[in-house]
Protein backbone atom coordinates (compact mmCIF):
# COMPACT_ATOMS: atom_id res chain seq x y z
CA UNK A 1 0.00 0.00 0.00
CA UNK A 2 2.92 2.32 0.60
CA UNK A 3 3.45 2.54 -3.15
CA UNK A 4 0.29 4.62 -3.26
CA UNK A 5 0.23 8.39 -3.24
CA UNK A 6 -1.66 10.50 -0.76
CA UNK A 7 -3.37 13.27 -2.70
CA UNK A 8 -6.28 15.61 -2.28
CA UNK A 9 -9.32 14.93 -4.45
CA UNK A 10 -9.25 18.28 -6.22
CA UNK A 11 -5.56 17.98 -7.09
CA UNK A 12 -6.09 14.45 -8.32
CA UNK A 13 -8.67 15.71 -10.80
CA UNK A 14 -6.07 18.12 -12.15
CA UNK A 15 -3.40 15.46 -12.51
CA UNK A 16 -5.84 12.94 -14.00
CA UNK A 17 -6.90 15.50 -16.61
CA UNK A 18 -3.25 15.94 -17.58
CA UNK A 19 -2.82 12.15 -17.75
CA UNK A 20 -5.84 12.08 -20.06
CA UNK A 21 -4.11 14.53 -22.38
CA UNK A 22 -5.95 17.68 -21.36
CA UNK A 23 -3.67 20.62 -22.13
CA UNK A 24 -6.17 23.45 -21.83
CA UNK A 25 -7.84 24.51 -18.62
CA UNK A 26 -9.94 27.63 -18.11
CA UNK A 27 -11.36 28.47 -14.70
CA UNK A 28 -12.34 31.00 -12.12
CA UNK A 29 -11.71 30.67 -8.37
CA UNK A 30 -14.49 29.48 -6.09
CA UNK A 31 -14.29 27.51 -2.86
CA UNK A 32 -14.28 24.50 -2.35
CA UNK A 33 -12.48 23.69 -5.62
CA UNK A 34 -9.68 26.28 -5.60
CA UNK A 35 -7.05 23.54 -5.54
CA UNK A 36 -7.96 22.61 -9.13
CA UNK A 37 -7.07 25.97 -10.76
CA UNK A 38 -4.06 26.30 -8.46
CA UNK A 39 -2.86 22.83 -9.46
CA UNK A 40 -3.42 23.56 -13.15
CA UNK A 41 -1.66 26.93 -12.91
CA UNK A 42 1.43 25.16 -11.60
CA UNK A 43 1.27 21.96 -13.67
CA UNK A 44 0.10 23.09 -17.11
CA UNK A 45 3.27 25.03 -17.94
CA UNK A 46 5.32 21.96 -16.97
CA UNK A 47 3.56 19.83 -19.57
CA UNK A 48 3.36 22.50 -22.26
CA UNK A 49 -0.28 23.18 -21.54
CA UNK A 50 -2.36 26.32 -21.16
CA UNK A 51 -3.91 27.66 -17.98
CA UNK A 52 -6.04 30.79 -18.12
CA UNK A 53 -7.70 32.35 -15.12
CA UNK A 54 -10.80 33.76 -16.78
CA UNK A 55 -12.61 36.91 -15.70
CA UNK A 56 -15.72 34.91 -14.75
CA UNK A 57 -17.22 31.46 -14.93
CA UNK A 58 -19.11 32.71 -17.98
CA UNK A 59 -15.90 33.61 -19.75
CA UNK A 60 -14.25 30.35 -18.66
CA UNK A 61 -16.97 28.14 -20.15
CA UNK A 62 -16.81 30.11 -23.40
CA UNK A 63 -13.04 29.72 -23.55
CA UNK A 64 -13.77 26.01 -23.15
CA UNK A 65 -16.18 26.29 -26.08
CA UNK A 66 -13.52 27.92 -28.24
CA UNK A 67 -10.83 25.42 -27.29
CA UNK A 68 -13.17 22.45 -27.80
CA UNK A 69 -14.18 23.81 -31.20
CA UNK A 70 -10.49 24.11 -32.02
CA UNK A 71 -10.15 20.38 -31.31
CA UNK A 72 -8.47 20.40 -27.90
CA UNK A 73 -9.12 18.26 -24.84
CA UNK A 74 -10.33 20.90 -22.46
CA UNK A 75 -11.63 21.19 -18.92
CA UNK A 76 -13.11 23.73 -16.56
CA UNK A 77 -14.07 23.35 -12.93
CA UNK A 78 -16.20 25.23 -10.47
CA UNK A 79 -18.65 24.82 -7.62
CA UNK A 80 -22.41 25.22 -7.51
CA UNK A 81 -22.96 29.00 -7.96
CA UNK A 82 -20.25 29.04 -10.61
CA UNK A 83 -21.79 26.05 -12.38
CA UNK A 84 -25.09 27.93 -12.52
CA UNK A 85 -23.26 30.67 -14.41
CA UNK A 86 -21.85 28.15 -16.86
CA UNK A 87 -25.24 26.73 -17.85
CA UNK A 88 -25.63 28.88 -20.95
CA UNK A 89 -22.27 27.73 -22.23
CA UNK A 90 -23.07 24.10 -21.43
CA UNK A 91 -26.23 24.33 -23.53
CA UNK A 92 -24.22 25.80 -26.43
CA UNK A 93 -21.51 23.14 -26.08
CA UNK A 94 -24.19 20.46 -26.19
CA UNK A 95 -25.88 22.01 -29.22
CA UNK A 96 -22.56 22.38 -31.03
CA UNK A 97 -21.71 18.78 -30.09
CA UNK A 98 -18.41 19.78 -28.58
CA UNK A 99 -16.54 17.51 -26.17
CA UNK A 100 -15.65 19.05 -22.82
CA UNK A 101 -15.18 17.99 -19.22
CA UNK A 102 -16.74 20.09 -16.48
CA UNK A 103 -16.10 19.52 -12.80
CA UNK A 104 -18.65 20.56 -10.19
CA UNK A 105 -17.49 20.26 -6.59
CA UNK A 106 -20.90 20.98 -5.12
CA UNK A 107 -21.38 23.26 -2.14
CA UNK A 108 -24.34 24.19 0.00
CA UNK A 109 -27.09 26.14 -1.75
CA UNK A 110 -29.34 27.66 -2.93
CA UNK A 111 -27.98 31.14 -3.51
CA UNK A 112 -24.48 31.89 -2.37
CA UNK A 113 -25.10 29.19 0.24
CA UNK A 114 -21.91 28.12 1.92
CA UNK A 115 -18.67 26.33 1.14
CA UNK A 116 -19.42 22.99 2.77
CA UNK A 117 -19.88 19.94 0.56
CA UNK A 118 -23.44 19.24 -0.60
CA UNK A 119 -25.36 17.43 -3.34
CA UNK A 120 -28.00 20.00 -4.16
CA UNK A 121 -27.13 20.20 -7.87
CA UNK A 122 -28.40 16.71 -8.76
CA UNK A 123 -31.39 18.06 -10.66
CA UNK A 124 -29.29 20.72 -12.39
CA UNK A 125 -26.73 18.16 -13.53
CA UNK A 126 -29.07 15.36 -14.56
CA UNK A 127 -32.20 17.12 -15.79
CA UNK A 128 -30.77 20.02 -17.74
CA UNK A 129 -29.66 23.21 -16.09
CA UNK A 130 -29.44 25.18 -19.29
CA UNK A 131 -32.06 25.59 -22.00
CA UNK A 132 -33.11 23.03 -24.56
CA UNK A 133 -33.25 19.25 -24.92
CA UNK A 134 -29.79 18.12 -23.99
CA UNK A 135 -28.12 15.80 -21.54
CA UNK A 136 -24.74 15.55 -19.89
CA UNK A 137 -23.01 12.37 -18.93
CA UNK A 138 -22.73 12.81 -15.16
CA UNK A 139 -20.14 10.78 -13.25
CA UNK A 140 -20.29 10.77 -9.44
CA UNK A 141 -17.04 9.57 -7.86
CA UNK A 142 -16.98 8.56 -4.20
CA UNK A 143 -13.27 8.12 -3.56
CA UNK A 144 -10.08 9.91 -4.52
CA UNK A 145 -9.12 6.91 -6.62
CA UNK A 146 -12.39 7.17 -8.52
CA UNK A 147 -11.89 10.90 -9.03
CA UNK A 148 -8.71 10.02 -10.86
CA UNK A 149 -10.15 7.09 -12.81
CA UNK A 150 -13.41 8.76 -13.82
CA UNK A 151 -11.69 11.98 -14.84
CA UNK A 152 -9.52 10.06 -17.29
CA UNK A 153 -12.60 8.18 -18.49
CA UNK A 154 -14.59 11.43 -18.80
CA UNK A 155 -12.29 12.75 -21.55
CA UNK A 156 -12.71 9.57 -23.59
CA UNK A 157 -16.49 9.68 -23.17
CA UNK A 158 -16.61 13.34 -24.15
CA UNK A 159 -14.61 12.71 -27.32
CA UNK A 160 -16.37 9.45 -28.18
CA UNK A 161 -19.82 11.04 -28.15
CA UNK A 162 -18.87 14.68 -28.77
CA UNK A 163 -20.70 15.60 -25.62
CA UNK A 164 -20.22 17.34 -22.30
CA UNK A 165 -19.24 15.14 -19.36
CA UNK A 166 -19.62 16.39 -15.83
CA UNK A 167 -17.69 15.11 -12.84
CA UNK A 168 -20.14 15.71 -10.02
CA UNK A 169 -18.35 15.68 -6.70
CA UNK A 170 -18.85 17.64 -3.55
CA UNK A 171 -16.72 19.92 -1.41
CA UNK A 172 -15.87 17.14 1.01
CA UNK A 173 -14.53 14.63 -1.48
CA UNK A 174 -12.71 17.45 -3.24
CA UNK A 175 -10.96 18.38 -0.02
CA UNK A 176 -10.39 14.79 1.08
CA UNK A 177 -7.03 13.08 0.76
CA UNK A 178 -6.90 9.32 0.29
CA UNK A 179 -4.34 6.88 -1.03
CA UNK A 180 -4.46 6.32 -4.75
CA UNK A 181 -2.59 4.95 -7.70
CA UNK A 182 -2.54 7.40 -10.57
CA UNK A 183 -4.21 5.91 -13.64
CA UNK A 184 -2.40 5.37 -16.92
CA UNK A 185 -3.50 7.10 -20.12
CA UNK A 186 -6.07 4.97 -21.94
CA UNK A 187 -4.25 5.50 -25.21
CA UNK A 188 -7.51 6.02 -27.06
CA UNK A 189 -7.42 8.62 -29.79
CA UNK A 190 -10.32 10.34 -31.49
CA UNK A 191 -10.19 11.88 -34.93
CA UNK A 192 -11.61 15.41 -34.81
CA UNK A 193 -10.45 16.43 -38.26
CA UNK A 194 -13.94 16.25 -39.75
CA UNK A 195 -15.32 19.11 -37.70
CA UNK A 196 -12.69 20.96 -35.66
CA UNK A 197 -11.60 24.49 -36.50
CA UNK A 198 -8.07 24.34 -37.80
CA UNK A 199 -8.23 26.66 -40.78
CA UNK A 200 -9.93 25.67 -44.04
CA UNK A 201 -6.79 24.55 -45.82
CA UNK A 202 -7.46 22.21 -48.71
CA UNK A 203 -10.95 21.47 -47.50
CA UNK A 204 -14.39 23.05 -47.15
CA UNK A 205 -14.96 25.39 -44.24
CA UNK A 206 -15.93 23.98 -40.85
CA UNK A 207 -18.55 25.86 -38.90
CA UNK A 208 -19.35 25.38 -35.24
CA UNK A 209 -22.77 26.84 -34.58
CA UNK A 210 -26.09 26.31 -32.90
CA UNK A 211 -28.24 28.98 -34.55
CA UNK A 212 -30.38 26.86 -36.87
CA UNK A 213 -33.26 28.97 -38.05
CA UNK A 214 -35.21 26.39 -40.03
CA UNK A 215 -37.25 24.28 -37.58
CA UNK A 216 -37.89 21.23 -39.72
CA UNK A 217 -34.82 21.17 -41.94
CA UNK A 218 -32.22 22.12 -39.36
CA UNK A 219 -33.03 22.38 -35.67
CA UNK A 220 -35.35 19.42 -35.33
CA UNK A 221 -32.81 17.33 -37.21
CA UNK A 222 -30.10 18.35 -34.75
CA UNK A 223 -32.42 17.45 -31.88
CA UNK A 224 -33.21 14.06 -33.34
CA UNK A 225 -29.50 13.39 -33.76
CA UNK A 226 -28.85 14.44 -30.15
CA UNK A 227 -31.61 12.19 -28.83
CA UNK A 228 -30.23 9.25 -30.81
CA UNK A 229 -26.84 9.93 -29.29
CA UNK A 230 -28.33 10.04 -25.79
CA UNK A 231 -30.06 6.71 -26.42
CA UNK A 232 -26.74 5.22 -27.46
CA UNK A 233 -25.04 6.59 -24.35
CA UNK A 234 -27.82 5.13 -22.19
CA UNK A 235 -27.32 1.78 -23.87
CA UNK A 236 -23.53 1.76 -23.57
CA UNK A 237 -22.29 3.81 -20.71
CA UNK A 238 -24.31 3.15 -17.54
CA UNK A 239 -22.11 2.61 -14.49
CA UNK A 240 -23.25 1.50 -11.06
CA UNK A 241 -21.99 -0.46 -8.08
CA UNK A 242 -23.71 -2.81 -5.68
CA UNK A 243 -22.77 -4.14 -2.27
CA UNK A 244 -24.42 -7.18 -0.70
CA UNK A 245 -27.68 -6.66 -2.56
CA UNK A 246 -28.53 -10.28 -3.43
CA UNK A 247 -29.94 -11.44 -0.12
CA UNK A 248 -30.75 -7.99 1.27
CA UNK A 249 -34.13 -7.05 2.72
CA UNK A 250 -33.32 -3.36 2.67
CA UNK A 251 -31.67 -1.49 -0.14
CA UNK A 252 -29.70 1.65 0.68
CA UNK A 253 -29.11 4.01 -2.24
CA UNK A 254 -26.71 6.93 -2.37
CA UNK A 255 -24.32 8.55 -4.83
CA UNK A 256 -20.88 10.02 -4.25
CA UNK A 257 -20.16 10.71 -0.60
CA UNK A 258 -23.50 9.22 0.48
CA UNK A 259 -22.70 5.88 -1.15
CA UNK A 260 -19.80 5.57 1.30
CA UNK A 261 -22.22 6.12 4.16
CA UNK A 262 -24.70 3.63 2.69
CA UNK A 263 -22.02 1.00 2.38
CA UNK A 264 -20.70 1.67 5.88
CA UNK A 265 -24.25 1.43 7.26
CA UNK A 266 -24.69 -1.94 5.52
CA UNK A 267 -21.64 -3.28 7.37
CA UNK A 268 -22.96 -2.08 10.72
CA UNK A 269 -26.48 -3.40 10.02
CA UNK A 270 -25.21 -6.81 8.90
CA UNK A 271 -23.33 -7.13 12.18
CA UNK A 272 -26.63 -6.45 13.91
CA UNK A 273 -28.29 -9.18 11.91
CA UNK A 274 -30.13 -6.91 9.50
CA UNK A 275 -29.74 -7.72 5.83
CA UNK A 276 -28.95 -4.42 4.16
CA UNK A 277 -27.37 -3.91 0.74
CA UNK A 278 -26.24 -0.90 -1.21
CA UNK A 279 -26.98 0.26 -4.74
CA UNK A 280 -24.94 3.14 -6.02
CA UNK A 281 -25.45 4.91 -9.34
CA UNK A 282 -22.07 6.04 -10.68
CA UNK A 283 -23.50 7.59 -13.81
CA UNK A 284 -26.30 9.82 -12.51
CA UNK A 285 -27.19 10.40 -16.14
CA UNK A 286 -27.73 7.98 -17.71
CA UNK A 287 -29.36 6.70 -14.53
CA UNK A 288 -29.06 2.93 -14.04
CA UNK A 289 -32.83 2.43 -13.99
CA UNK A 290 -33.09 -1.14 -15.24
CA UNK A 291 -30.17 -2.18 -13.06
CA UNK A 292 -31.75 -0.62 -10.00
CA UNK A 293 -35.13 -2.23 -10.75
CA UNK A 294 -33.40 -5.59 -10.87
CA UNK A 295 -31.45 -5.02 -7.67
CA UNK A 296 -34.54 -3.73 -5.87
CA UNK A 297 -36.83 -6.59 -6.85
CA UNK A 298 -38.27 -8.31 -3.77
CA UNK A 299 -36.78 -5.89 -1.25
CA UNK A 300 -38.91 -4.77 1.69
CA UNK A 301 -37.85 -1.18 1.68
CA UNK A 302 -35.54 1.29 -0.02
CA UNK A 303 -33.69 4.01 1.84
CA UNK A 304 -32.27 6.87 -0.22
CA UNK A 305 -29.46 8.85 1.40
CA UNK A 306 -28.50 12.26 0.02
CA UNK A 307 -26.98 15.58 0.97
CA UNK A 308 -30.02 17.40 -0.42
CA UNK A 309 -33.79 17.34 -0.03
CA UNK A 310 -34.16 14.02 -1.83
CA UNK A 311 -33.62 14.92 -5.46
CA UNK A 312 -32.61 11.42 -6.57
CA UNK A 313 -35.81 9.88 -5.14
CA UNK A 314 -37.62 10.81 -8.36
CA UNK A 315 -35.24 8.74 -10.45
CA UNK A 316 -35.39 5.87 -7.96
CA UNK A 317 -39.19 5.81 -8.08
CA UNK A 318 -39.19 6.02 -11.88
CA UNK A 319 -36.79 3.08 -11.96
CA UNK A 320 -38.81 0.84 -9.64
CA UNK A 321 -42.22 2.09 -10.78
CA UNK A 322 -43.07 3.03 -7.18
CA UNK A 323 -43.31 -0.71 -6.44
CA UNK A 324 -41.45 -0.58 -3.11
CA UNK A 325 -41.78 1.99 -0.31
CA UNK A 326 -38.96 4.53 -0.47
CA UNK A 327 -37.71 6.23 2.68
CA UNK A 328 -35.18 9.05 2.84
CA UNK A 329 -32.39 10.23 5.12
CA UNK A 330 -30.89 13.52 4.07
CA UNK A 331 -29.24 16.64 5.29
CA UNK A 332 -29.12 19.98 3.50
CA UNK A 333 -27.17 23.22 3.50
CA UNK A 334 -23.77 21.53 3.63
CA UNK A 335 -24.58 18.97 6.33
CA UNK A 336 -23.71 15.29 5.94
CA UNK A 337 -25.95 12.50 7.27
CA UNK A 338 -24.39 10.54 10.09
CA UNK A 339 -23.84 6.81 9.81
CA UNK A 340 -25.68 6.22 13.09
CA UNK A 341 -28.77 8.02 11.79
CA UNK A 342 -28.90 5.74 8.77
CA UNK A 343 -28.45 2.63 10.89
CA UNK A 344 -31.12 3.74 13.36
CA UNK A 345 -33.57 4.45 10.55
CA UNK A 346 -33.18 0.96 9.09
CA UNK A 347 -33.61 -0.52 12.57
CA UNK A 348 -37.04 1.10 12.81
CA UNK A 349 -38.18 -0.97 9.81
CA UNK A 350 -38.10 -4.18 11.86
CA UNK A 351 -39.61 -2.76 15.01
Amino acid sequence: MSDKLLMKGNEVIGEAAIIAGCRHYFGYPITPQNEIPAYMAARMPEVGGVFVQAESEVAAINMVLGAAAAGARVMTSSSSPGISLKQEGISYLSACELPAVIVNMMRGGPGLGNIAGAQGDYFQATKGGGHGDYRLIVLAPATVQEMADYTVQAFDLADKYRTVVMILGDGHIGQMSEPLVLPKPTGKTFDKSAWSLTGAKGRDQHIVRSLLLYPEDELEKLNIRLQEKYKLITKNEILYKTYMTDDADYLLIGFGMCSRLARGACDVLRKKGLKAGMFRPVTLWPFPSAELAKAAAGKKKILVIEMNAGQMIEDVNLAIGCSIPVDFVGRMGGMVPELETIVERVETYVK
Partner: protein
Protein backbone atom coordinates in the same frame (compact mmCIF):
# COMPACT_ATOMS: atom_id res chain seq x y z
CA UNK B 1 -3.33 41.64 -77.79
CA UNK B 2 -3.00 41.90 -81.50
CA UNK B 3 -5.47 44.73 -81.83
CA UNK B 4 -4.46 48.16 -80.59
CA UNK B 5 -7.87 49.58 -81.18
CA UNK B 6 -9.57 47.50 -78.50
CA UNK B 7 -10.58 49.31 -75.31
CA UNK B 8 -8.60 48.02 -72.41
CA UNK B 9 -10.67 46.52 -69.64
CA UNK B 10 -9.30 47.12 -66.23
CA UNK B 11 -10.70 45.34 -63.22
CA UNK B 12 -10.71 47.83 -60.39
CA UNK B 13 -12.77 45.92 -57.88
CA UNK B 14 -13.88 42.32 -57.50
CA UNK B 15 -15.29 40.03 -54.93
CA UNK B 16 -12.46 38.95 -52.64
CA UNK B 17 -11.27 35.39 -53.31
CA UNK B 18 -11.76 34.58 -49.66
CA UNK B 19 -15.49 35.27 -49.91
CA UNK B 20 -18.25 33.08 -51.29
CA UNK B 21 -20.19 34.22 -54.30
CA UNK B 22 -23.54 34.82 -52.69
CA UNK B 23 -25.93 37.56 -51.71
CA UNK B 24 -25.71 38.67 -48.14
CA UNK B 25 -28.66 39.01 -45.79
CA UNK B 26 -27.91 42.55 -44.67
CA UNK B 27 -30.38 45.41 -45.27
CA UNK B 28 -29.84 47.96 -48.03
CA UNK B 29 -27.45 50.65 -46.84
CA UNK B 30 -26.08 48.53 -43.98
CA UNK B 31 -22.34 48.82 -43.31
CA UNK B 32 -21.68 45.16 -42.55
CA UNK B 33 -21.37 44.20 -46.21
CA UNK B 34 -18.74 46.89 -46.81
CA UNK B 35 -16.80 45.86 -43.73
CA UNK B 36 -16.96 42.19 -44.77
CA UNK B 37 -15.64 43.15 -48.16
CA UNK B 38 -12.74 45.18 -46.76
CA UNK B 39 -11.93 42.31 -44.40
CA UNK B 40 -12.04 39.86 -47.30
CA UNK B 41 -9.67 42.04 -49.35
CA UNK B 42 -7.21 42.25 -46.44
CA UNK B 43 -7.33 38.48 -45.97
CA UNK B 44 -6.66 38.00 -49.69
CA UNK B 45 -3.78 40.45 -49.70
CA UNK B 46 -2.20 38.86 -46.63
CA UNK B 47 -2.80 35.35 -47.93
CA UNK B 48 -4.22 34.05 -44.68
CA UNK B 49 -7.60 32.73 -45.78
CA UNK B 50 -6.73 29.09 -45.12
CA UNK B 51 -5.29 29.98 -41.76
CA UNK B 52 -8.07 32.13 -40.37
CA UNK B 53 -10.92 31.34 -37.98
CA UNK B 54 -13.75 33.84 -37.68
CA UNK B 55 -15.79 34.08 -34.48
CA UNK B 56 -19.20 35.61 -35.10
CA UNK B 57 -21.37 37.31 -32.50
CA UNK B 58 -25.04 37.24 -31.66
CA UNK B 59 -26.39 40.17 -33.63
CA UNK B 60 -26.80 40.99 -37.32
CA UNK B 61 -23.43 39.41 -38.09
CA UNK B 62 -24.41 36.12 -36.42
CA UNK B 63 -23.89 34.28 -39.69
CA UNK B 64 -20.90 36.27 -40.92
CA UNK B 65 -18.90 33.05 -41.33
CA UNK B 66 -21.25 31.99 -44.12
CA UNK B 67 -19.73 34.63 -46.40
CA UNK B 68 -16.09 33.69 -45.90
CA UNK B 69 -14.31 30.61 -47.19
CA UNK B 70 -12.86 30.14 -43.74
CA UNK B 71 -13.57 28.17 -40.59
CA UNK B 72 -16.14 29.85 -38.40
CA UNK B 73 -17.46 29.66 -34.89
CA UNK B 74 -20.54 31.08 -33.31
CA UNK B 75 -20.27 32.52 -29.82
CA UNK B 76 -22.99 33.04 -27.24
CA UNK B 77 -24.07 36.68 -26.91
CA UNK B 78 -21.16 38.80 -25.72
CA UNK B 79 -18.70 35.92 -25.44
CA UNK B 80 -16.82 36.34 -28.71
CA UNK B 81 -13.54 37.38 -27.04
CA UNK B 82 -13.71 34.40 -24.66
CA UNK B 83 -14.41 31.94 -27.47
CA UNK B 84 -11.67 33.58 -29.55
CA UNK B 85 -9.31 33.23 -26.57
CA UNK B 86 -10.09 29.52 -26.36
CA UNK B 87 -9.41 29.01 -30.06
CA UNK B 88 -6.27 31.13 -30.10
CA UNK B 89 -4.79 29.36 -27.07
CA UNK B 90 -5.20 26.06 -28.90
CA UNK B 91 -3.97 27.39 -32.25
CA UNK B 92 -1.55 30.25 -31.55
CA UNK B 93 -0.46 30.23 -35.18
CA UNK B 94 -3.93 30.65 -36.66
CA UNK B 95 -5.48 34.06 -37.26
CA UNK B 96 -8.49 34.49 -35.01
CA UNK B 97 -10.99 37.24 -35.80
CA UNK B 98 -13.53 38.44 -33.26
CA UNK B 99 -16.34 40.23 -35.08
CA UNK B 100 -18.82 41.98 -32.77
CA UNK B 101 -21.61 44.51 -32.60
CA UNK B 102 -22.21 47.18 -29.99
CA UNK B 103 -24.62 45.23 -27.77
CA UNK B 104 -22.41 42.18 -27.90
CA UNK B 105 -19.17 44.00 -27.22
CA UNK B 106 -20.15 46.77 -24.84
CA UNK B 107 -23.28 45.56 -23.02
CA UNK B 108 -23.56 41.86 -22.33
CA UNK B 109 -19.94 41.19 -23.25
CA UNK B 110 -18.23 44.13 -21.56
CA UNK B 111 -16.30 41.92 -19.15
CA UNK B 112 -15.05 39.63 -21.90
CA UNK B 113 -14.11 42.63 -24.06
CA UNK B 114 -12.06 44.35 -21.40
CA UNK B 115 -10.34 41.24 -20.09
CA UNK B 116 -9.36 39.81 -23.47
CA UNK B 117 -7.89 43.24 -24.28
CA UNK B 118 -6.21 43.40 -20.89
CA UNK B 119 -4.63 39.97 -21.33
CA UNK B 120 -3.34 41.18 -24.65
CA UNK B 121 -4.76 38.16 -26.45
CA UNK B 122 -3.17 38.02 -29.87
CA UNK B 123 -6.47 38.40 -31.69
CA UNK B 124 -8.11 41.01 -33.91
CA UNK B 125 -11.36 42.49 -32.66
CA UNK B 126 -13.59 44.16 -35.24
CA UNK B 127 -16.24 46.22 -33.52
CA UNK B 128 -19.17 47.38 -35.62
CA UNK B 129 -20.83 50.36 -33.94
CA UNK B 130 -24.21 51.32 -35.41
CA UNK B 131 -25.68 52.92 -32.30
CA UNK B 132 -28.46 50.39 -31.87
CA UNK B 133 -29.39 46.72 -31.63
CA UNK B 134 -30.02 45.81 -35.24
CA UNK B 135 -31.07 42.18 -35.28
CA UNK B 136 -33.67 42.48 -32.55
CA UNK B 137 -35.29 45.45 -34.27
CA UNK B 138 -33.56 48.63 -33.14
CA UNK B 139 -33.37 48.84 -29.38
CA UNK B 140 -31.03 51.05 -27.37
CA UNK B 141 -27.37 50.03 -27.45
CA UNK B 142 -24.60 51.23 -25.14
CA UNK B 143 -23.56 53.42 -28.07
CA UNK B 144 -26.99 54.96 -28.72
CA UNK B 145 -26.61 58.74 -28.84
CA UNK B 146 -28.23 61.07 -26.30
CA UNK B 147 -31.74 61.84 -27.53
CA UNK B 148 -31.61 59.11 -30.18
CA UNK B 149 -34.93 57.34 -30.60
CA UNK B 150 -34.93 53.57 -30.53
CA UNK B 151 -37.56 50.94 -29.79
CA UNK B 152 -36.67 51.06 -26.10
CA UNK B 153 -36.03 54.80 -25.95
CA UNK B 154 -39.17 55.94 -27.78
CA UNK B 155 -38.72 59.51 -26.61
CA UNK B 156 -34.99 59.49 -27.18
CA UNK B 157 -32.15 58.29 -24.95
CA UNK B 158 -32.50 60.12 -21.66
CA UNK B 159 -29.01 60.50 -20.25
CA UNK B 160 -30.27 61.06 -16.71
CA UNK B 161 -31.71 57.55 -16.56
CA UNK B 162 -30.04 55.73 -19.44
CA UNK B 163 -26.56 57.17 -19.31
CA UNK B 164 -24.28 58.23 -22.11
CA UNK B 165 -22.79 56.43 -25.10
CA UNK B 166 -19.85 54.26 -24.11
CA UNK B 167 -16.73 54.97 -26.10
CA UNK B 168 -15.04 51.67 -26.74
CA UNK B 169 -11.69 52.89 -28.13
CA UNK B 170 -11.22 55.38 -25.33
CA UNK B 171 -12.04 52.69 -22.78
CA UNK B 172 -9.64 50.15 -24.23
CA UNK B 173 -7.02 52.85 -24.56
CA UNK B 174 -6.79 52.93 -20.74
CA UNK B 175 -5.32 49.41 -20.77
CA UNK B 176 -1.62 48.62 -21.08
CA UNK B 177 -1.68 45.52 -23.25
CA UNK B 178 -3.42 46.41 -26.54
CA UNK B 179 -1.05 47.26 -29.40
CA UNK B 180 -3.46 48.83 -31.87
CA UNK B 181 -6.66 50.82 -31.35
CA UNK B 182 -8.39 52.75 -34.12
CA UNK B 183 -11.85 54.11 -34.85
CA UNK B 184 -12.92 54.27 -38.51
CA UNK B 185 -16.10 54.65 -40.48
CA UNK B 186 -17.63 53.30 -43.69
CA UNK B 187 -19.94 56.18 -44.58
CA UNK B 188 -17.89 57.31 -47.59
CA UNK B 189 -15.10 56.10 -49.83
CA UNK B 190 -12.11 57.83 -48.18
CA UNK B 191 -13.17 56.45 -44.84
CA UNK B 192 -13.79 52.99 -46.26
CA UNK B 193 -10.18 53.03 -47.50
CA UNK B 194 -9.00 54.08 -44.06
CA UNK B 195 -11.02 51.29 -42.54
CA UNK B 196 -9.34 48.81 -44.81
CA UNK B 197 -5.91 50.12 -43.85
CA UNK B 198 -6.78 49.79 -40.15
CA UNK B 199 -8.09 46.25 -40.61
CA UNK B 200 -4.96 45.28 -42.48
CA UNK B 201 -2.70 46.67 -39.77
CA UNK B 202 -4.73 44.86 -37.13
CA UNK B 203 -4.34 41.60 -39.02
CA UNK B 204 -0.63 42.17 -39.61
CA UNK B 205 -0.18 42.71 -35.88
CA UNK B 206 -1.69 39.31 -35.23
CA UNK B 207 0.35 37.62 -37.93
CA UNK B 208 3.49 39.15 -36.41
CA UNK B 209 2.30 38.03 -32.94
CA UNK B 210 2.39 41.59 -31.63
CA UNK B 211 -0.80 41.25 -29.60
CA UNK B 212 -4.29 42.59 -29.27
CA UNK B 213 -5.71 44.89 -31.96
CA UNK B 214 -9.03 46.68 -31.82
CA UNK B 215 -10.76 48.31 -34.79
CA UNK B 216 -14.03 50.12 -34.20
CA UNK B 217 -16.03 50.80 -37.34
CA UNK B 218 -18.88 53.28 -37.31
CA UNK B 219 -21.51 51.77 -39.54
CA UNK B 220 -24.91 52.62 -40.97
CA UNK B 221 -28.16 51.03 -39.90
CA UNK B 222 -30.70 53.00 -41.98
CA UNK B 223 -33.46 50.41 -41.46
CA UNK B 224 -33.53 50.84 -37.72
CA UNK B 225 -32.60 54.49 -37.86
CA UNK B 226 -35.76 54.95 -39.97
CA UNK B 227 -33.98 56.52 -42.96
CA UNK B 228 -33.13 56.00 -46.58
CA UNK B 229 -29.66 54.49 -47.09
CA UNK B 230 -28.18 57.76 -48.33
CA UNK B 231 -29.55 59.62 -45.34
CA UNK B 232 -27.96 57.00 -43.15
CA UNK B 233 -24.48 57.96 -44.32
CA UNK B 234 -25.29 61.60 -43.61
CA UNK B 235 -26.63 60.85 -40.16
CA UNK B 236 -23.52 58.87 -39.36
CA UNK B 237 -21.30 61.75 -40.43
CA UNK B 238 -23.30 64.47 -38.72
CA UNK B 239 -24.41 62.70 -35.53
CA UNK B 240 -22.15 59.77 -34.81
CA UNK B 241 -18.71 61.10 -35.71
CA UNK B 242 -18.93 64.06 -33.30
CA UNK B 243 -19.80 61.61 -30.51
CA UNK B 244 -17.23 59.02 -31.61
CA UNK B 245 -14.23 60.90 -33.04
CA UNK B 246 -12.38 59.02 -35.75
CA UNK B 247 -8.70 58.35 -35.55
CA UNK B 248 -5.93 56.17 -34.30
CA UNK B 249 -5.60 55.87 -30.55
CA UNK B 250 -2.60 53.59 -30.44
CA UNK B 251 -0.26 51.97 -32.92
CA UNK B 252 2.54 50.03 -31.38
CA UNK B 253 2.72 47.81 -34.41
CA UNK B 254 5.34 49.94 -36.09
CA UNK B 255 7.50 50.26 -32.98
Amino acid sequence: MSSNTRIKEQLIMKRPDSMFEMKNHYCPGCGHGIIHNMLGECIDELGVQENTILVAPVGCAVMAFLYFKMDGCEAPHGRVPAVATGIKRVHPDKIVLAYQGDGDLLAIGMAETIHAANRGENITVIFVNNANYGMTGGQMAPTTLPGQRTKTTPKGRNTSTEGFPIKACELINTLEAPVFIERCSVHNVPNIRKTKRALKKALENQIEKRGYSFVEVLSMCPTNWGMQPVDGTKWLEESMIPAFPLGNFRDRGAE
